[in-house]
């Protein structure tokens, strides 16, 4: 069996249908996620929704949180936003700590 990689990189754009297949969700769920501001369609075409890979990853994460933790979509939206902020802060702290260490070693 061919194990060579077929990966979805950042340039891949999903239609609503493709997003549903990739994330195993219904179309109505995509509509709900968009209306809660959890995911955002690209703004290059207002008539047809298209999503990039970052939004697809976010869709899956939202769905998992919703399903596993019994959250409503307001809760999912808030959790994702706080998780994003937390991730950025962690990244920043790690970066600054490393930088201080390097400066101390000079």
């Amino acid at each position: 069996m061919d194990r060579s990689s077929e990966y979805i990189d950042e340039d891949v754009i999903y239609t609503v249908k493709e997003l549903c297949t990739a994330c195993r969700i219904e179309k109505s769920y995509v509509v709900e996620l968009v209306s809660h501001g959890i995911i955002e369609p690209r703004d290059d075409n207002r008539n047809v929704w298209r999503f990039d890979a970052v939004e697809a990853a976010r869709t899956r994460r939202a769905y998992r949180l919703h399903r596993d933790l019994d959250l409503n979509l307001e809760g999912v939206a808030l959790a994702l936003e706080l998780m994003d902020r937390n991730r950025k802060l962690n990244e920043r702290v790690r970066f600054l700590e490393q930088l201080i260490q390097r400066l101390e070693q000079q």
């Binding site: 194990r3 990966y7 950042e10 195993r24 970052v54 998992r64 596993d68 933790l69 991730r87 390097r102």
Partner: protein, 316 residues
């Protein structure tokens, strides 16, 4: 798989109320949800908690599990199946060798799926009904070097699969990938009940720390050591970037902590990241008499007080 004490997993007493169990589950589920938790084995913990809760939340299943548990704790005893079927015995030693999961399936699984009785251990079960079932997705972390993130590339990775196998997969790493991004390898997850129903494999990218560079998003930072005279007089120095060495101008009258920017020299993308160099003035060790004299001359010639701003900061 060994016998699991679901009460221990949930952190509750064996006589905990349904409400207490529910509370414990909700708390643990939030803590160990793989999307939320930083712990490396969050996925397994979360699954274990889910499994425990599945059994303990259902009074019937819980009663059966309690029986099983008592009897494992007693080190083997006689037991009657809940269906009122045959009585059977086995020792603890036998039990440890049994697949606990199979045992659970036989006790708690959908009854019509199993043929109770008849096997060596009295737990035998028949064929499961065939269902159209999509294979599960598999999630893994993949650590790449900063150079790989910069240049892109492909490499073979060995991944431990849930079934215990190790699988080798060729993965293309896209140029400019950043920490936390996910790669999706379609159809490389767990097999489904039929071809075409395989799950997907997701690789979450982690970028390894680098001996020289620090990364934040697409921006690369380098601490650049300079001599006191390079900082004072300005200089042109060679500095490393992920794309190779480049020449950079240090302006005259620079200080430690000054940050210089090389636009577009960070990780590629649209727009690409920048590279920053933070200056760090390093003093040479004074060894000879001549060197000492030079520094003494500096001291005598300069009217310079780097601590001027600190004056008056002391109170009381």
């Amino acid at each position: 798989m060994d016998f699991k004490d679901y009460y221990k997993i949930m952190g509750v007493e064996p006589d905990a109320s349904a409400e207490e169990i529910k509370r414990a589950y909700k708390k643990l589920a939030r803590k160990y949800h793989p999307d939320v938790s930083d712990e490396s084995d969050a996925q397994n913990k979360f699954q274990e908690i889910g499994e425990a809760y599945d059994i303990l939340k259902d009074p019937e299943k819980r009663a059966e599990y309690d029986q099983l548990r008592t009897y494992v704790n007693q080190g083997g005893a006689q037991r009657r199946t809940a269906d009122g079927g045959q009585t059977f015995t086995f020792e603890q030693g036998d039990f440890a060798g049994t697949d606990f999961e199979d045992l659970l399936k036989s006790v708690f699984g959908e009854r019509e799926d199993f043929d109770m009785g008849g096997s060596r251990q009295g737990f035998g079960f028949g064929q499961r009904r065939q269902r159209q079932q999509q294979g599960n997705d598999i999630h893994h972390a993949l650590t790449v070097t900063m150079e790989e993130a910069y240049h892109g590339g492909s490499r073979q990775v060995s991944l431990a699969m849930p079934d215990g196998d190790t699988r080798k997969i060729n993965v293309k790493i896209p140029k400019g990938i950043t920490d936390g991004k996910e790669l999706r390898l379609k159809g490389q997850g767990q097999p489904g009940s039929a071809p075409g129903l395989e799950g997907d494999l997701y690789l979450e990218i982690r970028i390894a720390s680098h001996p020289v560079f620090e990364l934040e998003g697409k921006n690369v930072t380098l601490v650049l050591p300079v001599t006191p005279w390079e900082a004072a007089l300005g200089a042109e120095v060679e500095i490393p970037t992920l794309g190779g060495n480049v020449s950079m101008k240090i302006p005259a009258n620079s200080s430690s902590g000054n940050r210089l920017r090389l636009k577009g020299r960070g990780l590629p993308g649209d727009p690409p990241g920048d590279q920053f160099a933070i200056l760090s003035i390093v003093n040479p060790e004074v060894e000879s008499e001549e060197e000492r004299t030079l520094f003494e001359q500096l001291r005598d010639k300069f009217q310079f007080d780097p601590r001027a701003k600190l004056k008056g900061a002391q109170h009381g």
